[in-house]
Symmetry: C2
Subunit: 157 residues, 2 copies
């Protein structure tokens, strides 16, 4: 159920898909932008802008934080990335959006801040039903379950 530290099977596919969509939308290619797209596509878990920079520096490449924000913004607008705000003053996190539309939701640990993901078809069905019943025209949705992760649960009782 929870899928941590595991790569999505579609990771490689997402990177290529994203680069194609960016190009088709009239955006130019550049080393920094590619570094961001590749680093994001490589991860399954959500990453903050800062973590993305560290990720890229670890590869021996470099990118300014402003470029990361700008790129994430473009990716978000094109539906290629998903932004996640866990609140509590924590920075926004981003993850690649599966082009197939399949997605997951998040578990947030209130003690250590760890974020994990889970997916559930029944929950999706219930939300789709709801989306048709409300008076807003719904495009996306997000579900956050908050509590303590296994480590913090056993540590703090």
């Amino acid at each position: 159920m929870a899928r941590n530290g595991r790569q999505t099977a579609a990771a490689k596919g997402w990177t290529e898909h994203a680069e194609r969509v960016l190009k088709d939308a009239g955006h130019r290619s550049s080393a920094p932008r590619s570094a961001v797209v590749e680093a994001l596509g490589r991860q399954d878990c959500v990453l903050t802008a800062r973590e993305l920079v560290e990720e890229i520096r670890a590869e021996g490449r470099d990118v300014g934080i402003a470029t990361v924000y700008r790129t994430l913004d473009v990716l978000d607008e094109l539906g290629l990335a998903q932004r996640l705000d866990v609140g509590e003053g924590a920075p926004a996190r981003y993850e690649p959006a599966d082009p197939s539309g399949e997605h997951h939701h998040h578990l947030v640990c209130g003690s250590c801040g760890r974020v994990s993901s889970f997916e559930d078809a029944r929950l999706e069905r219930e939300i789709d039903r709801l989306a048709r019943r409300v008076d807003y025209r719904i495009g996306t949705h997000e579900v956050i379950l908050r509590g303590d992760c296994p480590t913090c649960s056993s540590a703090a009782g």
Copy 2:
């Protein structure tokens, strides 16, 4: 389903409940703190810290924004208030948490930022089921449906 601009039936009850819980938890009473609690209890919709200050000033009372944040923090810790982060750099919003445990979720308009609420028993049941299945020890949850509100839908097609 959507409940806007409507007072919760439990509004008055919440204010009294909150003041009692605060006192029992060893917190002192003060005019600014009461103003925050009363203003929050009076509303059904979510409010930002800034809106809470305006709300209080409109009554002819006054309070510093730092006190509002500090009070909301205490209310949140005691489970008396619920924090809602809609992301996109928007400030956090708060609402009274119903002591009965009954709660609702939110619809966020991506065009105008309007936030509405809805409740759904089947969704709650599905989430409770999920909460028992994941490896985190879940305490709370939140669901956000994003899209365009009725006004923005008709305006923008």
